[in-house]
């Protein structure tokens, strides 16, 4: 399983700290889009949008696909899925252990009570 080191996390959080970049991610939540389409809603230059996209790319939140001169971008959900998978795996692990732990405590209780009766 992929782990995220603090350097990568810093990039991710840095990427999300900007409102334009958050809006870009929102657009991409609907599916893949090309750079010119992404730039359309903003009163900023294509170059400025490109800078934001590079930040998002470096943070691993979007992925770029090149088709000739057209660059399309797609939301990358893997970091979130990895986090969810980690949680699910340990939830199963601890739940099973805790079931057994409870059963074992019941056995101990019975043993202790039996010993008490004999004292």
């Amino acid at each position: 399983m992929v782990e995220y080191e603090s350097e990568a996390l810093d990039r991710t959080f840095g990427a999300l700290a900007d409102p334009t970049r958050r809006r870009i991610l929102a657009q991409l939540a609907n599916g893949e889009e090309c750079v010119t389409e992404l730039a359309r809603p903003y009163a900023i230059s294509l170059a400025a949008v490109s800078k934001h996209l590079i930040v998002l790319e470096k943070a691993g939140l979007v992925r770029r696909r090149r088709d000739g001169r057209v660059h399309s971008l797609k939301l990358e959900t893997k970091p979130m899925q990895d986090a969810q998978a980690w949680i699910d795996r340990y939830r199963k692990f601890w739940d099973a252990n805790l079931d057994q732990f409870e059963k074992y405590l019941d056995q101990l209780n019975t043993k202790e009570n039996t010993q008490d009766d004999h004292q």
Binding site: A29, M80, I87, F93, W94, A96, K103, L105, N109
Partner: protein, 162 residues
Amino acid sequence: MTINSEVRKPDDATLVLTRMLNAPQERAFKAWTSPEHIKHWMQPEPGMVVPFAVMDLRVGGKFRIQMQKPDGEFFTAVGEFREVTIPERLVYTWDWEKDGSGTEFGEVEGKPTLITVEFLKRGERTEFVLTHTRFAKPESRDSHIVGWSRIAENLATFVEHA
């Protein structure tokens, strides 16, 4: 599998399980921390056994719990105690050995996670809280907690309103 614990997920990197144990605090704590007890209950999957367990229950002390599947495969957890407050609270790292088949401490995966367990006295019963966090290093853990919950929240809002 039925999920019997109450589960909270404060962020995408932390799991919190809470249970009410039908045993007094000291007994529950001892059963959790003594190797001879652990061998009886540590069973993440049916049929698994614990051939080997050691616990050096003090700050800086290490533990090793070797679990084995019926087909012979080993899963060996190792870690170090960061906080030891008998009989109510433990903080320890949790990592897996790469191989895990030996009887001595072996090479670890090197991605420690962090576990906090609390045994809270509730009369003759004990409230048990296990918190398992994905990052053992405090600095990465803190940035992670703020970060992931914010990302999750943001993305959820985006998808709703986009």
